[in-house]
């Protein structure tokens, strides 16, 4: 039996390929193989002989089978190795092209400021871009003869012959949404309204359409000090700095009283703006306490409710934060600009994850 074992294990080890291995298997442990023939001889043995020979034969059969399996696996591995040695790619070739989309900075900045003001309880209100002159002017304490009307470079809509209503306007600011929101929601009220606005002005720093966010908070005890805090918090959060200094300067808007222009402390160095440090002041927004006439125009009792309003240029905020030099390029849709200043689809600004990467 030892001879058998030595013979077949030797043959298995020497087998060159799978078919040689199969021949060996048939000869050794096949139905008519040498081991099977030996098994048949067991019947002729005495019980004592059988007790020794039986297990020995079974062990031999197992041993040959495992040797066959091991050799088979080894041959397969060798064959695979040989194949893989022939398989080679130039992995420095470029991948299949994919397009990368972007969001416009105005969309991104709008989402950023929405996230911040939502934290402070402001909801997002909307209004029409074409509005009546009542909502855009009169309700905001800008009567027909007011010089502010002439100064606003208003776009007017065409009026058909025989239609004697005052022409509608392209809203010159987002402030009409204040009135519409007051009418719809009453007080107390906290809203922001981001959106496009229009002025008939086109030069280096002005485009006939731009974007503003209006803020309005009405309650029984809101003061200008609250306004300052809200703006400080907003600016800190938006520009992602620890400290800011805002300067309130008396000014005039027909729809607020008192009114203030707000400057932010900053530095300009080598064309780069830094918020929160330096000796320069940059005007960023107009604000004030809502004029009693405006509150009344919104259908709310100004004897009971008071509050603040502000208006900030969204495009301007984006320019300052992201270092975008030219406002006109915002609306030019140049692919190079869109790709350079645009944002990735997963750059979703959140307060917990951070506004910008």
């Amino acid at each position: 039996m030892d001879d058998l074992k030595a013979k077949y294990l030797g043959q298995i080890a020497d087998a060159a390929d799978e078919s040689a291995l199969e021949t060996i298997r048939v000869a050794a442990v096949g139905k008519k193989g040498e081991v099977a023939l030996k098994m048949r001889e067991l019947g002729k043995m005495t019980p004592e002989e059988r007790q020794v020979a039986g297990p020995a034969l079974n062990a031999l059969k197992d041993e040959i089978n495992s040797a066959l399996a091991a050799k088979k696996a080894a041959l397969a591995d060798a064959a695979l190795d040989a194949r893989l040695r022939t398989e080679w790619l130039d992995v420095t070739l470029p991948s299949r092209p994919t397009r990368t989309g972007t969001l416009h900075p105005i969309s991104q900045a709008s989402e950023e400021l929405t996230a911040i003001f939502a934290e402070m309880g402001f909801s997002v209100a909307e209004g029409p871009r074409i509005d009546t002159d009542w909502y855009n002017f009169d309700a905001l304490n800008i009567p027909g003869h007011h010089p502010a009307r002439a100064e606003m470079d208003t776009f007017y809509m065409h009026r058909a012959e025989g239609d004697n209503r005052p022409p509608h306007v392209l809203r010159t600011h987002t402030s009409p949404v204040q009135i519409r929101s007051m009418e719809k929601m009453g007080a107390p009220l906290r809203i922001i309204c981001p959106g496009g606005v229009y002025r008939a002005d086109y030069d280096q720093t002005h485009t006939p359409m731009f974007h503003q966010v209006e803020g309005l908070a009405l309650d029984k005890n809101i003061s200008m000090a609250n306004l300052k805090w809200v703006l400080e918090e907003f600016v800190k959060s938006f520009f992602e700095v620890d400290e800011v200094e805002l300067r309130f300067r008396a000014s005039h808007f027909p729809f607020t009283e008192p009114s203030a222009e707000v400057d932010i402390r900053c530095s300009w160095k080598d064309g780069t703006l830094k918020i929160g440090e330096g000796d320069d002041w940059l005007e960023i927004l107009g604000s004030g306490m809502v004029h009693p006439k405006v509150i009344a125009a919104g259908g709310i009792d100004p004897e009971v409710y008071q509050g603040f309003a502000f208006g900030i240029g969204i495009d301007r905020l984006a320019m300052l934060k992201y270092g975008i030099p030219d406002l006109r390029a915002f609306f030019d849709s140049d692919l190079r600009w869109l790709r350079h200043y645009g944002f990735q689809c997963l750059d979703v600004p959140t307060l917990h994850g951070g506004l910008s990467r």
Binding site: S107, I130, Y156, H168, K228, E257, M289
Partner: protein
């Protein structure tokens, strides 16, 4: 509004520096837009004394001077004819910058003799064009600063000019005195008293004035007088200096005086050459059609109702806006009629805007001048005319009366605290208002006649806070509306727009924001461009109509980019389009545009022209992202800017269109200047139904452990049969068992013959109660074949 420091000091007693004054003005709401201070460029120069001067050994015209300076005796070579012993001069020492020469002086050798600096002429210091010799001062000590000497002896030369922006509510600050009053209220000095001594007339004015009854609301008060025997001519230097400093051109004494009072006291005046006035003056409303050449030498035609001043010859002055050339004063004027009137601000604004005249008078009257000061202004101007031009004044002619402007509001000291959030003691509040000219009677603050903007209690608060300085305001937290975590604030529509944007970006589109107005031709291509959506005053014909859709703007953007050398792109926009000109006649759209190829040519051969199914994949992805139902109809017959055979409307029923995708019409593309293939999609996000369910639960997941079976079928149908019809028919064969039906092959023509095609589908069968037997599968297959055959007229492909 421009003024100089010395002009301000006519009205304000103050030691404050220019810096303090400008900072304070800005803080008070009189925003400083610019300061030009000549002293800044002269501050280094000091006085010297020429102790000794002798001829240069090698040059006839040069002198070697020994000059005493604050740094001791210096040798300076000078070529000026007046350089001589014993004069006081202005010294420029080595290292100093000389503005008029634009050089920095150094130590030099002139013809072999060393020279340390120079002695300056007026031109070299940019004081005048004088360059005949060096400056020779009649006084001054060695080492004195030249600017100090100028300030003491020729102040207009170093008078800083300040320019401020005036908000429409502050007409009073359109006069230097009003600015001084604000500064005094802040405590930056004391307002000097203004005394007005009425000038007695010696005779009755031969020119009388009448205000028509229907014009009294526009001209409540007109005062005037004749001054005869004046000598017009150049005004004195101080007056010319003032006007020149603020950018006005001196004209003649009479005109300069009216300009002076316009800026000094916000009191516009007018002077008529009395010799050219025929008869009396009448203030009345134009009948319409009157023409008049104004002082700007332009002819204006008046409309009915506009206010005008006429004499017997007709219209002579556009009331309160601009006088007429016919009766204007010249150097030859001998008798002058001086006008000081009060005009209603609304009527001046309306007429000024209609006639498009921007004059200093209109600017002031439409904001509001002080009605009480009408007569005082006349007297002050009379006095100055008499002083500068001589003459004899007549008695004053008065028509109308000072209109009633009196009003008072309650000063509630706590209101400042509650509205502004600043604590200002009551006494300080009262003092502020008093300094601004309010008269306090108990709690009632009577508004001064020069403050037409103060119209309520909130205005008093504003004045108090403004003068106290809003810079001092300390921020105070705004309490939350509710305790705890804030609720979401965006509406479902707002969320949808945000999700749509980010989905489009994830699909490789670049977002654009384009102007919402476009040219008429482009608007018309997309169903717009009618008069309802037209602007009355567009800034260009490229921006004349509100856009009816986003696609024209996207196509224009694509054409611009193609012109820059980018052939392939994916652009999208989310925003409003306009179907009318009334508020609310706008709707939100999401549009995407694919132009050219899917990408640059590449080694894998993946690049191909964009096609309808790219647009379809993207619109489906965006619709799915914003929560549109998966089961939709795809219909045809969208607007004519789509390719008639290669677009689809994604609908829930024939009238509920969620979106359109497909190729754009080739004619539209060529008119918009697009090269190559272009496909697009548009979604009406507000048409997508809101999900009915409330809450975030997804419902239980139903999963079967039984094995699903897939069976393939191929049908031969007419080539006009739509795949979706076939799929729906197959899916309807056994709704319980058939989980999904997919088209996996389309084959047109060939052995099938003309007008036929083969569509191959896979049906996935998902049993729920027992494993399917061959018999079960056969039964369902038969049903599918029967249904499809019935619905499409096709046959199972053998």
């Amino acid at each position: 509004m421009k003024f100089t420091l010395s002009w301000l000091k006519d009205h304000l007693e103050t030691d404050a520096s220019v810096e303090e004054i400008t900072e304070t003005l800005t803080d008070l709401g009189l925003e400083v837009e610019g300061v030009s201070n000549p002293a800044d460029r002269l501050k280094e120069f000091t006085l010297g004394y020429v102790k000794h001067a002798e001829k240069h050994p090698d040059a006839d015209k040069l002198r070697v001077c020994k000059v005493d300076t604050d740094e001791g005796e210096m040798q300076i070579i000078c070529g000026a004819p007046n350089a001589r012993e014993g004069i006081t001069v202005v010294v420029c020492k080595p290292g100093m910058y000389v503005p008029g020469l634009d050089i920095t002086i150094g130590v030099g050798k002139i013809r072999g003799v060393e020279s340390f600096g120079m002695m300056a002429s007026e031109r070299e210091l940019e004081l005048s064009d004088e360059h005949d010799g060096i400056i020779e001062l009649p006084s001054g000590e060695v080492g004195d600063r030249f600017v100090d000497w100028l300030a003491a002896n020729d102040p207009s030369k170093v008078d800083p000019m300040i320019e401020i922006a005036i908000t429409p509510n502050r007409p009073d600050a359109l006069g230097v005195r009003g600015i001084a009053r604000d500064l005094a209220a802040r405590g930056l000095g004391t307002l000097k008293p203004l005394t007005v001594d009425p000038v007695e007339g010696g005779y009755e004015s031969p020119i009388k004035v009448e205000i028509a009854e229907d014009t009294l609301d526009g001209c409540p008060l007109f005062t005037g007088r004749l001054i005869r025997g004046v000598k017009n001519g150049q005004s004195p230097k101080w007056l010319q200096d003032r006007l020149t400093a603020i950018g006005l051109r001196p004209i003649s004494a009479l005109v300069d005086i009216t300009n002076y009072f316009t800026f000094d006291l916000n009191r516009p005046l007018h002077v008529f050459d009395a010799a050219k006035v025929a008869g009396n003056l009448r203030v009345h409303r134009a009948a319409g059609g009157e023409t008049l050449v104004a002082l700007d030498e332009k002819e204006y035609t008046l409309s009915a109702g506009q206010m005008v001043i006429s004499d017997d010859n007709g219209a002579e002055s556009i009331a309160g806006i601009m006088g007429g050339a016919e009766t204007g004063c010249t150097d030859e004027t001998v008798d002058v009629f001086l006008e000081s009137a009060f005009w209603d601000h609304v009527q001046i604004a309306t007429t000024g805007r209609a006639l498009k005249i921007n004059s200093d008078a209109r600017y002031r009257f439409e904001r509001g001048v002080d009605p009480e000061f009408t007569r005082d202004g006349l007297d002050l101007a009379t006095r100055m005319i008499l002083d500068l031009c001589g003459g004899e004044p007549s008695n004053v002619v008065v028509a109308g009366a000072v209109p009633d402007h009196s009003r008072a509001y309650k000063l509630n000291p706590e209101r400042v605290q509650s509205l502004v959030g600043m604590e200002i003691p009551e006494a300080e509040q009262r003092q502020t208002l008093t300094r601004l000219g309010f008269r306090l009677e108990g709690n009632m603050a009577h508004v001064p006649s020069w403050r037409p903007d103060v119209l309520g209690e909130a205005d008093l608060v504003e004045e108090v806070a403004r003068i106290a300085s809003l810079t001092k305001l300390q921020g105070k937290p705004l309490p939350r509306l509710t305790d705890g975590i804030p609720a979401p604030v965006m509406t479902p529509q707002q969320r949808r727009q945000q999700i749509a944007r980010r989905t489009c970006a994830s699909l490789g589109y670049n977002e654009i924001v384009s102007y919402t107005f476009i040219d008429q031709a482009s608007a018309a291509l997309f169903g717009g461009g009618d008069d309802a959506t037209m602007l009355a005053n567009p800034i260009s014909s490229e921006m004349s109509h509100m856009r009816p859709a986003l696609l024209p703007g996207l196509l224009q953007a694509a054409a611009r980019n193609q012109a820059r050398g980018f052939a392939d792109m994916a652009l999208f926009e989310v925003g409003p389009a306009f179907h009318g000109g009334e508020p609310g006649e706008q709707h939100n759209l999401i549009s995407g545009l694919l132009v050219g190829r899917t990408g640059p040519k590449d080694v894998h051969g993946a690049s191909r022209a964009v096609d309808t199914f790219d647009a379809k994949a993207d619109i489906e992805a965006v619709l799915a992202a914003i929560g549109a139902p998966a089961k939709v109809q795809i219909l045809r017959g969208a607007e004519p800017w789509w390719h008639p055979g290669r677009h689809g409307k994604i609908c829930l029923g024939p009238k509920k269109v969620l979106g359109v995708f497909g190729e754009l019409h080739p004619k539209v593309l060529s008119e918009m200047g697009i090269k190559g293939a272009a496909v697009a999609f548009t979604i009406w996000p507000d048409e997508v139904p809101m999900p009915r369910k409330s809450g975030a639960s997804r419902g239980a997941l139903v999963q079967s452990d039984l094995q699903a079976v897939e069976r393939d079928f191929a049908f031969v149908v007419d080539d006009t049969v739509e795949a979706l019809t076939l799929v729906n028919a197959a899916a309807g064969a056994d709704k319980a068992l058939i989980e999904d039906v997919r088209v996996f092959d389309e084959f047109i023509g060939g052995s099938l013959g003309e007008g036929k095609k083969s569509l191959a589908i896979t049906a996935r069968l998902q049993p729920t109660d027992k494993t399917l037997t061959e018999k079960d599968i056969e039964a369902v297959s038969d049903k599918i074949v029967a249904k499809v055959t019935k619905a499409t007229g096709g046959t199972l492909r053998g």
